[in-house]
Amino acid sequence: MAGIVCRTASQIISSQASCSSSVLAVRHSHWFTSVLSLKTSIPLRAEPKKKKKVDPRREIMMKERLKKKLKRLEKVPPELIPIEDFITPAKCFDETRIRDAPKLSFEESERRALLLKEWSRYKYSQHQTEMDTIEEALEAQRQALDELKLESEELYKAAVSSDMDLFPFQREGPSYTPPITNYEAPEGKYNNITRVYTQ
């Protein structure tokens, strides 16, 4: 590498010097140690096009080496993005934060147990009524479709075909208080500190 550099440097300088100098001037120049060595080396006036065959090969070699390095890097599996929800923050292990648990009286614990049982019964009956309502609505729809089929086939087919405009369906659910008419919500500033990971 160093030899190439030296030689190219010498060629450049010699090509610049060739217009005004002869071998004599070159002999006295500090760039060259001896005339003999100069004669055995490449001619002075040659331009540095000599490395035609060698350079492309060298460049190809360089590219191949880089490609191999890239392949080696790509083979390594990418680092997994940590799921922040699964990592308990260090704050939770802080001992100073433990609350003094109050001792429950017997009546209190009894009341709680009975309330939980009452709740499960309530929820069960609620679920049963919901399921029954849904079943009845579906039955009503099924019967309506049967009647429609008796009436006319094309109307039945049109009814049974899927509605393209319905989905995606979006609706705001009920809130605690009704919306205030002509209310302008104040604009709030916030700093988004979510961490974004890239693979």
Binding site: C92, D94, T96, R97, I98, R99, A101, P102, R112, L115, L116, E118, W119, Y122, T129, E130, T133, I134, E136, A137, E139, A140, Q141, Q143, A144, L145, E147, L148, E151, S152, E153, E154, L155, K157, A158, A159, V160, S161, S162, D163, L166, F169, R171, P174, S175, Y176, T177, P178, P179, I180
Partner: protein
């Protein structure tokens, strides 16, 4: 419903029938008459039942329901249990520290000036809480339940916690009955389009923006005409109901005598028993 078939060897009638659209009912019926040997009742064939399309327009609840007593109790219990099982938060720690510092200050009346210098935060946690409470009081939310009898039956701002159905008073024969808005079916349209037309033909129909849920009817009701009206070929009528949700309207007051927004429990005051029996099945008030 079907992608256009490009395979040539498929028989022609199959290609035509599989590329039906909702609005291409008329085309399908004409091709079917040519190609199908089935006994299909098309518009031309007289069926003794007149078809009507009706719309069950629902205004869904705007406000959440009140809790029943057991739900209240359970909610209290859950809050208590969660509080007991939790750890102290930053704010609570700060409250405790402030309280400890105050008690220390009061006990030892020594030089606390150095500590005051170190206190960068002027507000204690309790002060912050008071500030937040003040801010909350500045916001006045709308009232949950407007009084029981304030709004008439024809206002859609009634009972915000429950879903309401739109009823219309209509002349049927000689009587005036409360019905779900319905209109006669015309040839060349699907029943869903009939229902949409029924909604649009109301005097306030243009203001009521509704999203129809699907092409299929949710229920039906058939009734026979009284014998003096029965002509040849029309025995009675079949009404098919379609569900729709009210998506937006301009809150214009409706005529009291011809329109009503009604809860499921109040339906029996308005509808005839047979009609009510069929309509109740698909109206879900949970």
């Amino acid at each position: 419903m079907a992608a256009p078939f490009t395979r040539v060897y498929r028989p022609l009638w199959r290609i035509i029938t599989t590329t039906t659209l909702n609005k291409g009912v008329r085309n399908v019926s004409s091709t079917r008459q040519q190609w199908s040997a089935q006994n299909v009742k098309t518009a031309g064939v007289a069926s003794p039942w007149a078809l009507h399309g009706a719309v069950c327009l629902q205004r869904l609840p705007v406000v959440s329901q009140d809790r029943s007593p057991i739900e209240d109790e359970f909610m209290e219990l859950m809050h208590q249990m969660e509080l007991e099982r939790s750890l102290l938060s930053d704010h609570e720690l700060r409250l405790l520290e402030d309280a400890a510092r105050m008690s220390r200050k009061q006990e030892e009346e020594s030089d606390e000036e150095e500590e005051d210098y170190r206190d960068k935060d002027i507000f204690t946690a309790q002060d912050l809480e008071d500030i937040w409470e003040q801010k909350l009081k500045q916001y006045q939310p709308a009232q949950r339940s407007q009084g029981v009898d304030e709004k008439g039956v024809s206002s859609s701002e009634r009972c915000l916690a429950e879903s309401l159905i739109l009823l219309v008073k209509k002349d049927v024969g000689s009587q005036k009955l409360w019905l779900l808005p319905q209109i006669q079916w015309q040839t060349g349209e699907t029943l869903r389009q009939t229902a949409e037309r029924a909604l649009a033909s109301l005097p306030v129909g243009a203001d009521l923006k509704a999203t129809f849920l699907g092409n299929a009817p949710c229920g039906f009701y058939k009734y026979k005409y009284p014998k003096d009206i029965q002509k040849e070929g029309s025995v009675g009528a079949k009404v098919f109901f379609f569900k729709a949700l009210l998506s937006g309207h301009k809150h214009l007051p409706l005529e009291k005598n011809s329109f009503a927004w009604v809860k499921k429990d109040e339906l029996q005051d308005f509808l005839k028993p047979e009609y009510l029996k069929q309509v109740r099945r698909f109206i879900m008030a949970l």
